[in-house]
Symmetry: C2
Subunit: 454 residues, 2 copies
């Protein structure tokens, strides 16, 4: 059965690529109000395509921000599972334009890659699902499972209204599991299942000293320096072995199982000297870089400032000093509790002679993890592996994807993160591209996966 669907995709490859190019030509930059019309055009493109395939109830749903496209095809019968397919039609701005080798919104094929803003993130991957559904309909006249589609237009600006929309229309969007293709493989053509994401919280704090910047000659020796106080507080948060020193921070951490450590050891090691320029990595004592980035919590200073920042010297004791800190959390950790621990730590380590004001990061999220042995994950891995001809690696990611947290929170269903991007795709940067091998094998993966669940 899948063979004819796959053959259809082969036979119609040029036509599908041309349709994708039309999608990519719409500069649906969500952050820029000048592109409001383009945003609506892109939503219209998706809804027209779904209507043409034969989806029912195709809607462009308005939100207080950009609209999202909903569609459903629920004719696979009551015994067949229902999948919620999520993706986004909005893209990042293309600036700086002068660094693009070809126009960002005029898709170009070269080196077996399709170059355009959105080719990988996420129009290219959204379109793969659309083309696969079309192939099923054209070949079999039906889809193997029930499908709900949710393609939003605000992912690149923080999915501000998505959570509310899903919560308001819980009944409409409800499904047995979700599939998202908005991530990547750890290496070209290396099938990768992402089974966990980290949670998130943070604080910003300002150490306040004198009313104004003071002459360091006249007041040095009498007045506590807020910059030095800040340095002491920050240094007390993490030791040089990258072990976080915040009391209770690790209390609820779900430990890495031996199985996971084995899975993580199989992930091809990133060449950090190439990707970051750093020649020696550092990780939490007793953990590898793979284990720490994927499966252990982190605390990072994201920004810090105070006093004189210009050229040369200005001999002052500054009035204040500020640091921005965020943590990535793992399953078991409660972001609100962690935020409390951070606040307690800062207050307890505040030296005399200064005060502190603390802003709590308003966006917090729990970590997400699905059991890598979950039958859906095993099936996705099997399809992925067959299509690419290589064993799958299982990874957890240090980042967060807001929609996953929302789906987990609202529907409490497994999320299959089936991403086909590659490390060379230059997401958010000039010359974004997507490999045609990902396009072709990715669609084969999806055909096999959906068919296997029918």
């Amino acid at each position: 059965m899948t063979e004819s669907v796959i053959q259809y995709l082969k036979d119609n490859r040029d036509q599908h690529l041309e349709a994708l190019c039309n999608f990519l030509r719409i500069p649906s930059v969500s952050t820029d109000p000048l592109h409001r019309t383009d945003i609506r055009k892109a939503a219209q493109f998706v809804s027209d395509y779904l209507t043409e395939i034969g989806f029912d109830k195709v809607e462009i749903q308005d939100t207080p921000g950009h609209p999202l496209v909903y569609a459903e095809w629920l004719n696979a019968g009551p015994d067949a599972p229902t999948v919620l397919v999520y993706g986004h039609y909005d893209v990042q701005p293309a600036d700086p334009l002068e660094l693009w080798e070809t126009e960002p919104f005029e898709p170009t094929l070269r080196n077996n890659r399709l170059y355009a803003r959105g080719s990988s993130d996420d129009k290219g991957q959204v379109f793969m699902h659309l083309a696969v559904f079309k192939a099923f309909m054209k070949t079999d006249g039906q889809l193997p499972i029930n499908v709900k589609v949710c393609i939003e237009g605000e992912e690149e600006i923080g999915s501000e209204h998505l959570h509310q929309q899903l919560a308001n229309k819980k009944e409409q969007f409800k499904a047995d599991f979700a599939v998202i293709s908005d991530s990547g493989m750890v290496a070209n053509d290396q099938p990768t299942i992402l089974y966990g994401l980290k949670g998130f919280t943070g604080v910003e704090f300002t150490v306040n000293g004198p009313d104004n910047d003071l002459h360091s000659g006249l007041y040095g020796g009498a007045v506590r320096n807020p910059l030095m106080a800040l340095a002491h507080i920050l240094a007390s948060m993490k030791d040089q072995n990258e072990v976080i020193q915040i009391q209770h921070f690790y209390d609820d951490v779900e430990p890495l199982t031996e199985q996971e450590r084995t899975l993580m050891a199989q992930v091809p090691i990133e060449d950090y000297s190439v990707t970051t320029g750093v020649t020696s990595t550092v990780s939490e004592q007793s953990y590898t870089a793979a284990e720490h980035t994927m499966g252990r919590p982190t605390l990072e200073v994201n920004g810090m400032f105070g006093g004189y920042q210009g050229e040369g010297t200005k001999t002052i004791i500054p009035a204040s000093a500020t640091a921005k800190i965020t943590c990535r959390l793992v399953p078991g950790q409660d972001p609100n509790k962690i935020q409390d621990y951070l606040v307690d730590h800062i207050k307890q380590h505040l030296p005399s002679g200064v005060t502190v004001s603390i802003k709590r990061e308003p966006i917090s999220a729990k970590a997400y993890k699905v059991d890598p042995d979950h039958p859906l994950i095993k099936q996705a891995a099997d399809s992925y592996s067959k299509a690419f001809g290589r064993d799958v690696v299982y990874v957890r990611m240090g980042g967060s994807i807001p929609v996953v947290e929302s789906i987990d929170h609202i529907f409490n269903i497994p999320v299959v993160l089936l991403g086909f991007g590659t490390p060379d795709d230059r997401l958010h940067s000039p010359n974004e591209s997507f490999p045609l091998s990902s396009f072709d094998q990715g669609m084969v993966t999806l055909v096999d996966f959906y068919a296997s669940l029918g």
Copy 2:
């Protein structure tokens, strides 16, 4: 003999104040090229005044920057000592103009103070010497000692060309001791002898990590964070008891003698909550704030920056982090050695996974101190005390005055710092003023002091 001189000053007070006002009306702002002509006018005012009094060899000496005024009167005979009187005719800019209650360059008398930019720093204090010399000449037909005058025009912009000028014309400027009135009293009408200044050195260093800012979710746990590394290095430099932890830092410090600790205990204590808004002070363990600010070395972070500084959150591991550090040194400490110790400390405390680049502060200076028991200091204190009717306090200052370092270095002569400013003078700020009591009693002090040396 001094009585008639003092009487002359009393009788001609209005005339002297009017002459000072003419001096203050010239907006000789040294940092602003638009005031080039005013700079020259102010130099001309000083040289005209000295000529009129009867000084010889009055010169406006050009430098690569603003000119300085030199004059001499050497007819007191070969047995009389020669004093070098230093001051400056340039002033700080008057901005922000809207905060001045009366025009900065239209001197106004109110509350027994003369309001104008430069009234205290330093035209008012320079003029007191000029008026005193005039009074001696008008009364006695001569000065009690030999006098060389050096009034520069670049003090407010760092005395950039002064050192070279003094070194080039060493023979011309050479004297037995120097007198400078460009500082202040610790309280209104509280005679204050400044007998020591701190030295100075510093470094700026940048901790370099990845080539670019990295996604803290993807790289947290593998890549050392330069901001956290910077915090660790800074925190290692000074403990929470304000004791500097740089190896060898205190090795050559000349300890405070019991005599000095007694002198420092007599200095009226600054109300830091009023002057700085800080309600609790901190000082080096075992030393008071007075002892630490005046007589113990300090290390201060003057500025620090790295990563994201805008509103909200940006989850990055930044590429680099920078700190600016300066130290104030006491007698015995060699600024070059201290700079080496700082560099060594930074390198030794650099964690793995990052590199550091260090800029050495180009301006370093040794501390300056004259023995408070030196006969010239005792004589100055005696004159000061008689004129103001109160015992003198002896202070050392945490700041540096470049000209003192130059005079010490080139001529190796004692410098008598006889300042008549007060804490309320608002130097460098809107509504600068100078109390008439300082003007009157200060001139009496100078008459008595010069006469006593004749």
